[in-house]
């Protein structure tokens, strides 16, 4: 591989864009300032997307080792290095981040009415942090980006939240801070026991003392469980979804995947034995989460909260799939992760369409939108069905595979997970009926115009990908499948090697 630091460029390009915006555009609510900031934001994020696509093109799926690896000295005194690299798993999260940022920027135009320049800056910083998480191969570097996400997150949720009390911002940030600081302690213990924080070394050779590995797993678990979020650590998420503009929630689709990614990279790959020991706990929490969040979604009267709980339920499938430790479960978890990022983003953008026009979040205040907004109704239908898991959409494959994997691990797991699919259909269709069908008896709702070109442009890439993933998943699967096979065969080798001893 040539020595061009592709991953570093991809990671820090949005940050450079943010600095440019800060320096060039005028702040406040100046019109040209907003235009310049959005312009720079689009150039930076589309360039990042382009480079990421180029990286995907160069990526060799058959090679299960880390690719595009960069190493540099960072803090030699403490043996901490700047290591970057991606494999078949992280390459998709990089792609998702790069793809969703321009979509988020597009939704700023209608969704963020004050201080759009600052929002663009925060969103670009957030993109850099997310890309950093998925491309870092040193635990400390990983941690720096993982927690660095909190800075733009706090500012966005606080400054552009609906209620202005800052409750959602405090709750989400302090909650995740608590989790990540526990993870930091776990990183210390790992570093001191293994003598390195280089993840490539830790993955190949997870020789931590068993009693210690359990505690380490617990600390990492809490952190990732809050981020994912797994029931009962999910309570911050509905507040954030409810409060913040769609532009941020679109990104949070990938943000939640930091937790799933952490479970695979650190849980399964670095602490295989402890992961096995804790698997029943994680699986039961995931199952409770799937059923609980689905029921909670049914009970919500505000459309944004329905989407929030549906996210919690889908994240349950991801952890369920991972910790079932079956080929199907892993494959399905990866697929749900891909699909959910797109579908959750699309659904949230979807409910933001009428919200941005009328400023109402109560589902009951809408109705009959299929009459005056047919294009919007059709789009939302596709994403609703994708969320439900209809065959032909991206949702089906992931949910089917994780349920199958869970069934193979224990038939009860499969049965309960399948209940969640039924409930998922229920709450999404109830939401759809409430929004789109029924009489057009509310004058403000009936007067709304259909989706415009900008909104179509936001939905278009998501629509194409959701259908592509659903109809021809092999195009995506072949990139991550070899790596995933390697991960699970390594895992089984570790577990069996241990029992044979």
């Amino acid at each position: 591989m040539d020595s061009f630091p592709l991953l570093s460029v991809i990671t820090f390009l949005p940050l450079a864009g943010a600095v440019l915006v800060a320096l060039l555009a005028r702040g406040g609510d100046c019109k040209t300032g907003v235009k310049i900031s959005l312009g720079i934001g689009f150039v930076a994020s589309l360039a990042t997307l382009g480079l990421s696509a180029y990286m995907l093109h160069l990526f060799d799926p058959a090679n299960t080792a880390f690719q595009f690896v960069e190493r540099a000295v960072w803090i030699p005194a403490f043996n901490i290095a700047y290591i970057k690299g991606i494999d078949g798993i992280s390459v998709w999260f990089v792609m998702l981040t790069a793809l969703l940022t321009p979509v988020g920027l597009l939704s700023i135009i209608g969704g963020v009415r004050t201080r759009a320049k600052e929002f663009v800056i925060a969103l670009l910083v957030l993109e850099t942090m997310l890309l950093g998480v998925f491309t870092s191969l040193d635990l400390i570097l990983f941690y720096v980006f993982f927690e660095g996400v909190l800075i733009p997150m706090f500012i966005i949720v606080g400054a552009w939240g609906q209620t202005k009390t800052g409750y959602a911002a405090y709750k989400s940030v302090l909650y995740t801070l608590l989790g990540s600081l526990l993870m930091l302690v776990a990183i210390f213990v790992t570093a001191l026991n293994a003598g390195t924080t280089d993840m490539t070394a830790l993955i190949g050779n997870p020789n931590l003392p068993p009693h210690m590995a359990l505690w380490l797993f617990l600390a990492f678990f809490v952190s990732f469980a809050i981020k994912t979020p797994i029931w009962p650590f999910h309570t911050w998420l509905p507040y954030v979804y409810e409060e913040t503009p769609a532009a941020f929630v679109v990104m949070s689709g990938v943000m939640l995947k930091m937790g799933s990614y952490g479970f695979i990279r650190i849980g399964v790959q670095m602490l295989p034995h402890a992961s096995t020991d804790f698997a029943p706990l994680v699986i039961w929490l995931s199952l409770i989460g799937i059923v609980y969040a689905s029921l909670a979604a049914l009970a919500q009267t505000e459309m944004k909260r329905v989407i929030a709980y549906s996210s919690v339920a889908h994240m349950g499938y991801i952890t369920l799939g991972i910790f079932s430790f079956t080929d199907q479960g892993f494959d399905g978890a990866m697929f749900v992760a891909l699909s959910h990022s797109l579908v959750a983003a699309a659904l949230f953008l979807g409910v933001s369409v009428p919200f941005e026009r009328l400023g109402i979040t109560k589902t009951a205040r809408y109705g009959g939108m299929a009459n005056n907004m047919p294009r919007y109704a059709a789009l939302f239908m596709v994403f609703t069905l994708a969320s439900v898991g209809l065959p032909g959409t991206s949702g089906f494959i992931g949910e089917f595979l994780t349920t199958q994997g869970a069934y193979l691990a224990n038939s009860w797991y499969g049965v309960i997970a399948a209940t969640g699919m039924v409930l998922g259909a229920a709450y999404m269709l109830v939401l759809y009926r409430g929004l789109f069908f029924g009489p057009s008896d509310k004058p403000d709702v009936a007067a709304m115009k259909d989706v415009n070109v900008r909104e179509m442009a936001m939905f278009a890439p998501l629509l194409v990908l959701v259908l592509w993933l659903g109809i021809h998943p092999a195009d995506f699967r072949h990139i991550y499948a070899p790596t995933l096979d390697k991960v699970i065969s390594d895992y089984q080798a570790h577990i069996q090697g241990d029992t044979n001893d």
């Binding site: 803090i75 400390i140 500012i155 940030v173």
Partner: protein, 488 residues
């Protein structure tokens, strides 16, 4: 009979003392109109003393500075540990003078004694850092404290400032009493005041004598007072609140550095054999400071009081590093001190930038809407607050990181977990300020920013919080060398 060797060793202190005396005479002769000139001279003197401190000629004379060298018998020691501490103190003192650049002009308390007092306090701190005998320790502390008492009451017509000075003096005198009593006990049982001899005497006999333990406890209590560790912290919020803001900034930085380095010398040289006894005291003070600093800070509405509690919580972390001892502990302590001092000075600089109708603002609520009225200042403040909260990628995170890493290495996992949890609590009040800045509506415009003095300190501080992350090696190398110079 004065030997050249000793004079070479104390040359930086002599330089500073000479300039300070000249300035004092000039101040007495010329009055308020030379305040600015004396301020410039003070910064020049700090730079000159720093230059002399690291002058290659001087170091060559002192065995290349590799080993500790003693002056005037064993009164005064020069090693790389002390030199690093002095460099930090001189930097913090220079920045504090810059912070006061136009402050007293605006309040009408412009007096040329101000920079002179800072210089004498700094001289006292340099003596503290290099003390290797209980006598020079006491002289250094008193020289520093007397100058600081006056500085706290510097706005003498202001009732709060006078109150701060009086409070600081009363409690300071009490702690000096404790210190002297402890020293006399240690002297009584070991027959010497020299650090190294005390250490040898303790190692040879009397290890379990209760008298010497009581002496050690008294000295620890007095030094905890100086660093404002809980439960000897009560003076700090009142003094910070009452003292003029540039003075409070100075209090939060340089004297803390000096007292902590002195604390490290006291615990690791004369009391080295009693590590089993003092370790639990320091751990207790550290835990109490971290928790109290975090929880009590939640209730504050005055920004200076908040920073006082913030510094108490930070001192807790530094004491964790001190209780670890060893090279790793000391190194992480020095890293933390450097980052903390710069970070806190920056936070005070932000406060000094804000004036409304000519009056300085002090309430946290006054930060509301800063993001709208002054985006640049708001950004700097956000960086500083997230850094104090210990959120990466800012430098404050690495400060905490190295301390906690050293503590985990020393097997102090419960302390680390409590420290981590308390920093989540503390993060709330830093986040509260960020929230005020970006979420709440402004309460009217601020006056134009003050001159370049305050702004340059602010810019330096905010940039350092990012710069240290990008290039941590210079700081880590310097602290490593300093810690090696002391522990070997």
């Amino acid at each position: 009979m004065i030997d050249i060797q000793s004079l070479t060793i104390v040359m930086p202190e002599i330089t500073l003392a000479v300039v300070a005396f000249v300035c004092l005479i000039a101040a007495a002769a010329c009055g308020p109109r030379v305040t600015r000139h004396i301020g410039v001279l003070a910064i020049g003197a700090f730079a000159l003393a720093g230059g002399v401190l690291f002058c290659p000629e001087r170091l060559k004379h002192l065995l290349d500075g590799a080993l500790p060298v003693f002056a005037f018998g064993t009164q005064f020691v020069d090693d790389s540990f002390g030199r690093f501490g002095k460099a930090l103190i001189l930097t913090a003192a220079s920045l504090s003078v810059l912070l006061s650049w136009s402050y007293f002009e605006k309040t009408g308390d412009e007096k040329p004694e101000y920079p002179v007092l800072i210089m004498f306090a700094t001289l006292g701190m340099m003596l503290m850092v290099s003390a290797s005998d209980f006598i020079s320790l006491y002289v250094g502390i008193e020289l520093q404290s007397l100058a600081l008492y006056v500085l706290a009451a510097f706005k003498r017509d202001d009732i709060r400032s006078s109150e701060a000075g009086l409070k600081y003096f009363t409690l300071g005198a009490l702690s000096s009493g404790l210190l002297l009593y402890g020293i006399s006990l240690i002297y009584g049982y070991t027959g010497t005041t020299d650090f190294v001899s005390v250490s040898i005497a303790l190692r040879q006999h009397m290890l379990t004598n209760p008298g010497i333990v009581i002496g050690m406890v008294f000295v620890c209590a007095a030094l905890s007072f100086k660093v404002s560790g809980v439960p000897f912290h009560m003076w700090a919020p009142d003094v910070y609140e009452g003292a003029p803001t540039p003075v409070a900034a100075f209090f939060a930085s340089a004297p803390k550095i000096a007292a902590l380095i002195l604390f490290a010398r006291f615990l690791l040289t004369p009391m080295h054999a009693m590590a089993g006894q003092w370790h639990q005291i320091i751990v207790f003070v550290a835990l109490a400071s971290m928790l109290w600093g975090a929880f009590a800070g939640l209730a504050q509405t005055n920004f200076k009081r908040l920073l006082a509690y913030s510094s108490i919580a930070n001192i807790g972390f530094i004491l964790v590093a001190l209780s670890v001892g060893g090279r790793e502990g000391l190194q992480s302590m020095l890293v933390y001190l450097a980052i903390y001092a710069l970070n806190t000075l920056g936070a005070f600089a932000v406060l000094l930038c804000l004036r409304r109708d000519g009056k300085p603002v002090n309430d946290i609520a006054d930060f509301a809407g800063l993001g709208k009225t002054n985006p640049g200042l708001a950004l700097a403040m956000t960086v500083l607050m997230f850094s104090l909260a210990g959120v990466p990628p800012l430098a404050g995170f690495f400060a905490k990181y190295f301390v906690l890493l050293a503590a985990v290495d020393a097997g102090m996992l419960p302390v680390v977990v409590i420290g981590v949890l308390s920093s989540v609590v503390g993060a709330f009040y830093y986040l509260k300020i960020v929230k005020l800045i970006y979420v709440d509506e402004p309460q009217g415009a601020f006056d134009p920013l003050p001159d370049w003095g305050v702004r340059s300190v602010l810019a330096l501080s905010a940039l350092a919080m990012i710069g240290i992350t990008l290039a941590p090696s210079p700081l880590l190398d310097a602290t490593m060398k300093a810690a090696r110079g002391f522990i070997g």
